[in-house]
Subunit: 126 residues, 2 copies
């Protein structure tokens, strides 16, 4: 059974209050303001536990370290090639695409992930 600890709670609370898709390190830095002696291992372990609980999900975008967000409906992401910022994209997920490719290839397709790349609003104007 899972126990309720202030470390786990602080990590989840931080994720629920941000849209920034932080890395484990960024979460560590943030939560340390509240619990100064929390260890990085604790952050990693709790990120794993929270995933298993279905409360958050891990994001592995092209060649970058893992990022985390609160669990949402399936959606696409955008990553700025200049500043690295990650944004959620509202475009609806194309489930039909999975069916079409499955039919054409004979593969069993469970889902797909899509990542847009380009320049965010800030990085376009400079």
């Amino acid at each position: 059974m899972n126990k309720h600890t202030k470390q786990r709670e602080a990590i989840l609370r931080f994720l629920r209050g941000t849209y920034s898709h932080p890395t484990a390190d960024q979460i560590y830095d943030e939560v340390r303001k509240e619990i100064p002696n929390i260890s990085k291992g604790t952050v990693y372990r709790n990120l794993k536990v929270l995933q298993e609980m279905g409360l958050i999900s891990e994001l592995n975008l092209n060649g970058t370290v893992s990022r985390f967000e609160v669990k949402q409906e399936s959606h696409y992401h955008f990553r700025c090639e200049k500043c690295g910022r990650v944004l959620d994209i509202g475009e609806p997920v194309d489930k039909e695409l999975d069916r079409r490719v499955a039919l054409r290839t004979g593969l069993k397709i469970h889902h797909h992930q899509l990542e847009f790349q380009g320049l965010c609003h800030d990085c376009q104007h400079e």
Copy 2:
């Protein structure tokens, strides 16, 4: 200027002869059959150089180590959740999607990557 070395040539030749999307380690193991004392650093460096030359491209699929393939037109990939196998998918890349999302969001979209996940032919039947 780039020099022509048997190490670089062997790496490129192997990639040109496979559809397996190998990792750096797999490339290392393979090329070592031909050049037993090649070092892993040499493999990594040449993979980088070959990318800069535009001959190969790096593949970073969800939370796995880098894989490599000969440069092709933009296309989608499939990764088997059971055996890890990676396949190219013939489905045409939807450039219109980039335009639509750019228009809707104001982001500058250069391209997108898409990865299907599921079970390959072999892993469906067991």
